[in-house]
Amino acid sequence: MGVSKLMDLLLESREVIRNDAKIYLLLESLLLIQLTKSNANIQKIVAFENAFDRLFDVIAQEGYTDGGIVVEDCLLIMLNLLKNNTSNINFFNEGSYIQKLAPMFILPKNIEDIGWSPQKVSNFHCVLQVIRTLVAPSNPIQIITACQKMMRNANLLEAVTNILMALGVPVPADILSETMNTVAEMIRGNLTNQEYFANVMAPSDPPQPAIVVLLNSMNEISQAQVVQTLLPTSGGSMGLTTGQLLCSGLFSSDSLSIWFSAVALSHTLIENPAQKEQLLRVFIATNVGVQPVSLLHQCATYFQQTSKLQAKLGILMLLSMWLSYCPPAVQVFLNVPGAMAFLTAQTSANEYDNNEELLQGLCAFIMGLCVVFNDNTVQNYNKENLSQLIEKRVGVETYLGKLGEISRHEVYSKAAKQPQVRVKHETTSKLLLEYEFCKLFKVLENVIINALGVQRELSNGNMTELSLSEHENALLLQYKDVIRDQDRRLSDIQRQLELMGHEKQHLSNQLEELQQTNLQLQDQNTLLKAQLSTGATIVNNLPTTPNKNEPIEQEYNEQNDLADKLKCLEMESREKQSEIDSLKKEQDDLLELLLTEQELKLNTFKNRLIELGETIEDDPESDNISIGSDN
């Protein structure tokens, strides 16, 4: 929380600037510089509190790189916030702050008149450091790529390249060399950026590709201590190639030039066997009228002649790179007169001056390379001869000691730490070893030691056998055969035993498995039996229901039903019939009764009529008429 408060203060102190009381801001920025130096969490919080916005605001207000110490302080805070802090670098890139760096590289029109103040130089250095921190090779690759892309898109690469190519504008030498380093890291491992850079033409007359100009000035960087300006004054002819430049640098009189050229050339050979063989075809003419010699030959001669340590080391590193994994190069090297003798002398030397142990170590290393990558084509210096040379002339102990000098040296540990070359101008003479060489050495040191060891054992073995008498030798051979035979049988038996053991194990496993299955099956069997018995009782208790007969039974039942119904109906009809019968009978009876009654009544009436004196014919048929007519 305290950091947040502090950021508030910085925000408020912007008001103070307007009152020309910059001292507050200064004090506070000093505090922040200290705070942000090492603690990643504080760095992140400060960045979260919009620090980059504030810092860029202040820088803009102060006139960018033309501003005073406040600008430098702001840039130092920025540098602290970004150094080794991936999260903040990511934030810086994502927050579009890279775009805000471009205005820093606009040089005022009248720079020639006003010149570079010490403050401006410091500010400029800081900006370059900020850029280098963003794309430092130690950062995660995806961060570097993202930043490089942004730098190209935001025209920052263009702006920085313009500083390099600013013809006629005086740029201090140290700024220029730092700008080169910065450009190098902006395009390192990035094809698109490299393509952009390859197409940059220097505004010289005639126009030259920037790379050529850069190499040109590279050679002159070394001379910069003497010569004030670094600008390419003698660009040379139109057809100047980088290779030519490197070669001329390689054999110039300046040790730093030689060192840089050798390192640059060795970089073109890294893990590139084809290139190594290609380079063998390069011949150079050292003097007019002298037969041209191969570049490798010249290198091998040169390091014997020169007295400059830096130059020697440069050439030896180039040779190490060249000879490693390249037997043809080794062959050429071994044929150079005096080369091996020189190496042997150096390696076996008992005393050395300042830093000469490095030189001796390198000589030992190259001798070792000649052993390892020897294809035995040079009679005098085949693998065996060379290892004998090391053993007899130098002594294995001395040799290993010399070889070990390299990795023990502080120059080695310094160079192995990072790929960038970080030196101040005044200390360029301290450039001795280089990163890629250290990598190569680390890989091959043990290879050489092993190769020598194998070689020695081989020759030692030969020696003892040769020193024996013929009889002893025969006996020895016999014993050897016996031992070999026994050994073979022993191993055979052991193998068999092992095999049998395996088999036994396998079998017992199988047996166990089978037993288990057996047991399981038995269990299952009992279970099934039990189930069976219970099942049987259940079945017995079940009522017999042959369900297959069901449809028939149903039909039968239906039929039965129908018969029943029929019977019923028959009965009904019989009943009805009898009812009808009885009703008929009743009716008949009733009719008879009525008839009788009627007859009775008739008779009565007849009788009365008779009584009343009527004559009645006994004609039953005309009874009624007669009665009627009688009435």
């Binding site: 990643a40 969490n41 992140k44 919080i45 979260f48 919009n50 916005d53 994502e94 927050g95 898109n153």
Partner: protein, 213 residues
């Protein structure tokens, strides 16, 4: 590359609930089953579009461990949105939500939009916290709620984008003072307050002006 607004987010919640994985899924569209313990805070960013406007999200993924609490507290104040994450397969991470919320409310600006996230929704078989419980907690405390899976990417986009929508609405309503960067909102470079056609124009009166729209 240019944006209308920039929102600062923080992601908070117990350790191991999947904060870093949510961020990785959102920014890189990938899932890393074994993620290193976050130390302090890590940064990620992505561009999204809301109502046709480009919005840049800057996200600070905080460490869940108690030891880093004092560091993560420094990030509440400047954030416009917070994703408060718990793990649906670990009830204790749900139980700690109140502590987190108290912490957030205490140290953040009052308008900070908080989205409650129940992560690891793909592990249904190991679920310990019901979805309804999350919903209830969110309702009770006025949060937006969502269940996500950083592994299958389910709802991850939505979680970040819905939070941004909420913030965007608050800006439109004039709740946020967008000219105060301490709120975790920044106006894009081409949308500077000098442009009168945009909300928040007119410097200090921005919030009022937004209010009447």
């Amino acid at each position: 590359m240019s944006y209308a607004y920039l929102f600062k987010y923080i992601i908070i919640g117990d350790t191991g609930v999947g904060k870093s994985c949510l961020l990785l899924q959102f920014t890189d569209k990938r899932f890393q089953p074994v993620h290193d313990l976050t130390i302090g805070v890590e940064f990620g960013a992505r561009m999204i579009t809301i109502e046709g406007k480009q919005i840049k999200l800057q996200i600070w993924d905080t460490a869940g461990q108690e030891a880093f609490r004092s560091i993560t507290r420094s990030y509440y104040r400047g954030a416009a949105g917070a994703l408060l994450v718990y793990d649906i397969t670990r009830r204790e991470t749900f139980n700690h939500l109140t502590t987190w919320l108290d912490d957030a409310r205490q140290h953040s600006n009052s308008n900070m939009v908080i989205m409650l996230i129940g992560n690891k929704s793909d592990l249904e078989s190991r679920r310990e916290v019901k979805k309804e419980e999350g919903e209830a907690f969110a309702r009770e405390h006025g949060l937006v709620f969502m269940e996500t899976s950083a592994k299958t990417a389910a709802n991850v986009e939505e979680a970040f984008i819905n939070t941004a929508k909420e913030i965007f609405e608050k800006i439109q309503e004039g709740v946020f003072d967008i000219n105060n960067e301490a709120n975790g909102i920044k106006i894009g470079p081409q949308h500077s307050p000098t442009n009168p056609s945009l909300p928040g124009a007119g410097g200090q009166g921005g919030s009022q002006g937004g209010g009447c729209c």
